[in-house]
């Protein structure tokens, strides 16, 4: 496969994952911000959302006030923000068009349709209803692409590079989401938090669509350290760091079995995978959750770069 094609596919995976994450983040944040303050409805909910999306600095540069309208518009339709949903879909579509031959017709159509639909929303959000429709649409569109790719693409390098990109992005998003709220996730004997934080914790779960999953896994009321355990170490949750690294390693192995060559990206991914597989949540808290997540994000970025270097894109 052409290296440029591999790079484009990898980034299609990342862009679509980012768009999906932004959609879910906005949805969960809206819910949190709408709560009465006596239930923990936090005035800084939108600031946290920007932090989770790694957009604090970019938003600050616009000089806009942090409120729901400005932040959601910035994260969804803003054409000047390269990480907005609109920009992600445009970039994914542009990449897909450049490597059209590496995608099946259905996978291409899914991306092309997603971009055409979202571009119809323009660059300004008119109302909350529009936002709600857009969020729903984006979640569906990304799922439609996943489904089309999964059902129609050859199980070969093109498919694996898309999945690899998506898994790297997903790990990054989950880690950032946790890091923004890390102070709310400390173990029981820490003096922070309280029952008011319940809604903060469930917001995290909702952002990764794991609210119901939590109940099934722990059969317990929502406890912050279990939320951290779920999203870092539980391999059953597709957005947990452990599950993402399972996926990353699997796709790198598939690529290696195809080409017969392994490289630095495999070593980094194996190391990351081993850390998560052998980890336990107490040890992570012992090391410091924030420190753990910060290091994870750095390592994950390094892995992304190593993949690009190894496959020459």
């Amino acid at each position: 496969m052409l290296s440029r094609t591999a790079g484009n596919l990898f980034w299609i995976g990342r862009y679509l994952e980012r768009a999906d994450f932004s959609a879910r983040l906005i949805e969960a944040t809206q819910r949190l911000a709408a709560l009465p303050s006596s239930y923990g409805g936090a005035s800084n909910a939108w600031e946290s959302a920007l932090a989770a999306a790694c957009q604090i600095d970019a938003f600050a540069a616009t000089g806009l006030a942090i409120d729901e309208h400005e932040v959601t518009e910035f994260l969804t339709l803003n054409a000047g923000n390269p990480s907005s949903i609109r920009s992600c879909l445009e970039a994914a579509r542009s990449n897909a068009r450049a490597v059209r031959t590496a995608l099946t017709e259905e996978a291409w159509e899914a991306i092309n349709t997603a971009w055409l639909e979202v571009s119809r929303y323009g660059t300004h959000l008119s109302s909350r209803e529009t936002l709600a429709q857009l969020i729903e649409y984006v979640k569906h569109a990304v799922a439609a692409f996943d489904g089309a790719a999964n059902r129609t693409m050859l199980r070969g390098d093109a498919f694996w590079f898309i999945n690899l990109g998506a898994a790297i992005e997903r790990a990054d998003n989950s880690a950032r989401l946790l890091d923004v709220k890390y102070h709310l996730l400390l173990p029981r004997d820490e003096p922070v938090g309280g029952s008011l934080d319940y809604f903060q914790w469930t917001t995290i779960l909702r952002t990764v669509s794991a609210m119901t999953a939590y109940r099934w896994v722990y059969n317990d009321s929502v406890k912050p350290w279990l939320v951290a355990d779920l999203l870092i170490l539980n391999r059953q949750i597709p957005r947990s760091l452990a599950a993402c690294y399972d996926e990353i390693l699997r796709h790198l192995d598939l690529l290696a079995s195809h080409s017969g060559r392994r490289g630095p990206a495999h070593r980094l991914a194996s190391a990351g995978h081993a850390r998560l597989a052998g980890g336990n949540i107490d040890a992570i808290f012992g090391q410091g959750l924030h420190e753990f997540l910060t290091q994870f994000i750095i390592d994950n970025n390094r892995l992304g770069e190593a993949i690009a270097e190894q496959y020459l894109f």
């Binding site: 496969m1 052409l2 290296s3 440029r4 094609t5 591999a6 542009s94 068009r97 450049a98 490597v99 059209r100 031959t101 017709e105 291409w108 159509e109 092309n112 349709t113 055409l116 390098d157 690529l255 080409s259 060559r261 496959y311 020459l312 894109f313």
Partner: protein
């Protein structure tokens, strides 16, 4: 616009569009006439909407240069097919083979022994001083001896048995993806009609193209296929959709200049598994851009060293470099003589009479008759920069006359042909619109391949004679039918 009296492919020369009777309909169009009569206006409108949706969804778009608003546009598609009968097609096919063979021999000659120049058939200075004459190809012969692997020959019809060649496209002719996709759309939209009318399939084109490319590979390996790639200028090129479509159908990599590099006069592509050797490049990039070391040094789209690998005979470019001299419009006017010179036969396909403005007498005539002529730039394409006399205002004509006098050698003129019309679905119902036809002729080292059909382009504006997509023209599916 004032309509020229023209031959209509459904009604002949009669005026049948408003009549309900089946009289006067050419045999070829009887089933179509019935189908149109049986389809209420709402149904036709629904089919048109469905076709548009289909094209938009699969992303068949093209870009119009100089139009910032709509960088991606759909070419209007007309759902009424254009019909050519088998006997008509057989004659066209023979004529196309003859003409393309002559084009290839002409190129081999002008870059080789130059016999046609020595014989005085074509003026030497017209070839040798022509900007399209590529000095880097002098004395070279491409692998397999083929110059124009893919030719698009534009034909127009003016009567029941009158076809003319309007233009030869010997550089990087485009439009074949529309020929293929139009058929796919029609098969989905009107399956019943295909049941009644037996239409020759066009879907073998990608396979024939791949065979053609493989036949000219410079490396003959036993048991393995040559590596062919399609070189595109990238996704901002107006024909990018077609490039990706063809690469996909052929199952070959769609590469950009940066994906290729040359080492020791061998071309490689950069893959995730390291460099892979490339044998044949179906390039959709103009000569001027393919190698910044030899041609335009500012080109970011090409591959440095490509011409050196080409000269060493390690890679085939399709089409060959330097073919622009063959589709120069001043050379075109000599095509009947060129065909006779190389094939010893009378040309089967006629040329449109052409005045070469470089000749003083012709220029005088052209200047005196501008309001009735079509004037084109010799190296122009895409309908850019041409004058259609009968449809131009006095001021446009005066301005054009000044351009013409300043650089007469840059222009040719032809009578305004009454291009045939075909029934076409318009907002106001079925109406006559002018059409042309671009069949595609493939030439490999092992023979010539032609798919029965081609791209019919239709001027969507009543009376207009300009069918180019860049000027708002549309397309139709072209049916070669038995009978």
């Amino acid at each position: 616009m004032q309509a020229l009296p023209a031959f209509d492919e459904m009604f002949g020369t009669g005026e049948g569009y408003n009549s309900q009777s089946p009289d006067g309909v050419t045999a070829a169009y009887r089933a179509i006439r019935q189908w149109l009569a049986d389809s209420p206006a709402e149904l036709m409108a629904a089919r048109r909407a469905q076709a548009e949706l289909f094209f938009r969804r699969i992303g068949i778009t093209f870009a119009v240069y100089g139009d910032a608003q709509a960088t991606e546009r759909l070419i209007p598609f007309d759902i009424v097919p254009r019909i050519i009968t088998r006997p008509e097609w057989q004659r066209l096919e023979k004529g196309l083979k003859q003409r393309v063979a002559a084009l290839n021999m002409f190129l081999a000659d002008v870059y080789g022994a130059q016999e046609i120049l020595k014989a005085g058939i074509v003026p030497a200075e017209l070839v040798l001083m022509n900007p399209a004459y590529c000095l880097h190809m002098v004395g070279r012969q491409p692998p397999g001896g083929v110059w124009v692997h893919i030719a698009g020959i534009d034909l127009v019809r003016t009567g029941p048995d009158e076809f003319f060649v309007l233009e030869d496209n010997a550089r990087t002719p485009s439009g074949v993806s529309y020929m293929l996709e139009n058929r796919e759309v029609m098969l989905k939209l009107v399956p019943d009609l295909f049941d009644q009318v037996k239409v020759a399939p066009v879907e073998t084109y990608p396979e024939k193209l791949l065979e053609t490319l493989a036949s000219v590979s410079p490396r003959k390996q036993r048991g393995s296929h040559p590596t062919c790639v399609l070189l595109t200028p990238g996704q901002y090129n107006s024909a990018f959709y077609e490039h990706s479509f063809l690469a996909d159908k052929l199952g070959i990599e769609l590469v950009e200049g940066n994906d290729l590099f040359v080492r020791d006069d061998i071309v490689f592509m950069r893959t995730t598994e390291g460099p892979q050797r490339v044998d044949v490049i179906y390039r959709r990039l103009d000569d001027d851009f393919i190698d910044p070391l030899v041609f335009n040094p500012g080109s970011m789209l090409g591959v440095p060293g490509l011409m050196s690998a080409y000269a060493a005979g390690n890679v085939t470019l399709a089409n060959a470099v330097g073919t622009g001299i063959a589709d120069d419009k001043a050379i075109y006017s000599y095509m009947p003589d060129i065909v006779r010179f190389y094939t010893g036969e009378e040309p089967i396909l006629a040329n449109v009479p052409t005045w070469r403005c470089r000749e003083p007498e012709a220029l005088m005539y052209v200047l005196d008759h501008l309001p009735e002529l079509v004037v084109k730039e010799v190296d122009g394409s895409g309908g850019y920069g041409m004058l259609v006399g009968p449809h131009a205002s006095k001021t446009t004509i005066a301005a054009f006359a000044a351009k013409l006098k300043a650089n007469p050698e840059k222009f040719i003129a032809q009578p305004t042909l009454a291009l045939s019309t075909c029934p076409t679905a318009t907002d106001g119902g079925i109406a006559a619109r002018h059409v042309d036809l671009r069949p595609f002729v493939l030439t490999g080292s092992d023979g010539v391949r032609i798919v029965p059909g081609g791209l019919t382009r239709v001027a969507m504006t009543a009376g207009s004679l300009v069918v180019n997509s860049s000027q708002g023209g549309g397309t139709k599916d072209t049916w070669i039918i038995d009978g």
